[in-house]
Symmetry: C2
Subunit: 338 residues, 2 copies
């Protein structure tokens, strides 16, 4: 597979993206296009050895910063690594585009360049979260802060395709994030969405019903949909709870002498624990609803996270999720009043 990587995106670009790309071509055998300022990328690449034909630099002079407003970028930075990368994807020279840059900008430029899947009103950013059994596919986590029921309904249809074909769930269990299990619980948005999903259930969609905050991590659902405001709050809250609990545990260990002695023997367990909750293991966030696959990686990604984001991107492209979303729209998307 041929991956297009924004070499200028993220907190430590181009150092981190270049190193992530080198690791990915060596470990997975991908072909990677590094898009960005040629000189800067070349300087980084020269540090490493790798099969020469596997990495190609594509020059793009403009650099998008975290402070740039998406609307400004569309107008004024037309030769940015985002624009050049998205165009390469559109023209078919690569199979997937990955960026750890400014989320709003990646979203805006990708949408502008690639266009939406027919029938999908709003693309969504998703998160693949580890749960007790496997993983939960949560969307939207930040692209759409004010939604209507039809948007959440479409998120469910897109999530179903991703969970089925990429995460290999045979018949993905779909949940609607709400504040009670009962069908009648929720706010105006979720109550409206519930009705649409219940209709799609009659056509075969495996809509289980309302999910609660606790269901994101307990493995009772494969796909959970919510608006981008709620999803983003959940994502940031989870990251912080995990960090804070680790810190409290550490403080308690340091308080008790006997525990301090025992803590050394715990190192293998703590390492396994960290690996299971470390986002770097899970890679980037698929952007769903566009005509081609795009992955948004965390701005603070390290090289390993970039490498894994490329892997997630290749799975996204290989499994033809875009086509499967189109099939799902055909199957479930036509609903009265929708």
């Amino acid at each position: 597979m041929r991956v297009i990587l924004d070499a200028m995106g993220g907190d430590n670009a181009p150092y981190v993206p270049v190193l992530g790309a080198v690791q990915a071509v060596k470990e997975f055998g991908y072909k990677v296009f590094l898009v960005g300022r040629e000189e800067a990328i070349k300087k980084e690449l020269d540090k490493y050895s790798f099969p020469v034909s596997s990495i190609e630099i594509v020059n793009a002079e403009d650099v998008v910063s975290m402070e740039d407003q998406p609307s400004e970028i569309l107008k004024k930075k037309r030769n940015s690594s985002l624009h050049v990368g998205a165009k390469l994807l559109k023209s078919g020279e690569g199979d997937v585009f990955v960026s750890a840059g400014n989320t709003g900008a990646v979203m805006a430029v990708s949408l502008f360049t690639l266009g939406r899947i027919k029938g999908i009103d709003r693309p969504a950013i998703s998160a693949i979260l580890p749960n007790l059994k496997s993983q939960t596919f949560l969307l939207d986590v930040g692209a759409n802060v004010d939604c209507k029921p039809v948007h959440l309904f479409q998120f469910a249809i897109m999530g179903e395709a991703y969970a089925r074909y990429v995460l290999k769930e045979e018949n993905p269990r779909i949940g609607l994030l709400s504040i009670g299990e009962e069908d009648t619980k929720g706010n105006e948005l979720t109550k409206g969405t519930f009705k649409l999903l219940a209709k799609a259930r009659e056509k075969g969609l495996n809509f289980v019903g309302n999910a609660e905050g606790r269901d994101i991590y307990n493995g009772n659902f494969d796909v959970i949909v919510c608006d981008g405001f709620v999803g983003n709050v959940c994502l940031k809250l989870s990251e912080s709870v995990a960090k804070i609990l680790a810190k409290i545990l550490k403080e308690e260990i340091e308080k008790h002498f006997i525990s301090r002695l025992g803590a050394l023997t715990l190192l293998p367990a703590i390492k396994g624990f960290k690996k299971r909750i470390d986002y770097a293991e899970w890679g980037g966030a698929p952007l769903l609803g566009l005509k081609k696959p795009v992955i948004i990686a965390h701005g603070s990604s390290n090289a390993k996270a970039i490498k894994n984001a490329l892997r997630v991107g290749v799975e996204f492209a290989e499994t033809k999720v875009v086509e499967h979303i189109e099939e799902n729209m055909e199957k479930y998307g036509k609903i009265d009043g929708n």
Copy 2:
């Protein structure tokens, strides 16, 4: 102080509330009115020894279940422990009312019986959450699932009074839960709320700005406001993340022989850790916006959680938060277009 306790509320009533009351009168010296079916309460009370004059039973024949709809309870169960308890509070025979019953029902009956503070449109349920430094006061966590900016604005004013007088924060830092620190980030609701809070800041309210999901537990804010849908999702998500991380850690310890040996020495640390994240230590959720103090305890409260809910209730009453909310409304509540 005189506490009115719903003896019929919660998963194991009247066993748990009665035991919690006995522990509270012994440890704190409160006077407790146990409201509910006299026979059932008496049977439980007979198991324990305590200063006889400190506990009094007030009979109420109707029992509210978790399945009862709030509107039905108002009409059909007028002699429920909720009605009788709220009336005792209204008449001044007690200082605070505590219930671990059906949240919607406690809310509805309390609102109906006690009425709202002048100028407050919607009472809110709050949660006192442990953070890295002290605690965060989060509201609303479930009473109001669809809110307008003015409601969140009033939550902030109420939260300020609680944090200042009960949690003893000198100048409580108030945050608006959103999806980015920048003033312009958020959805329609938070953007509208931001404007109202910014106006109150000119009058002296310590509104710091937007908070993110991670700020609920990191101690950067004393009060965080959000709508009841988002707050409820956050609360349930946090409880589950904590439980799941503990489970993952346990699994990892069991996987590694050397860690298994060391785990024994960790017991004191793990005990301290559990104590710090255990909701039972923190007691119930203050219901703010009513003319008298009401506390809603967790439905699955054990006796210790009930005892601590009574303590939280007494602090709520003693510090005269209701009067301080009225003062805050006078000071900050009159805003153009509000």
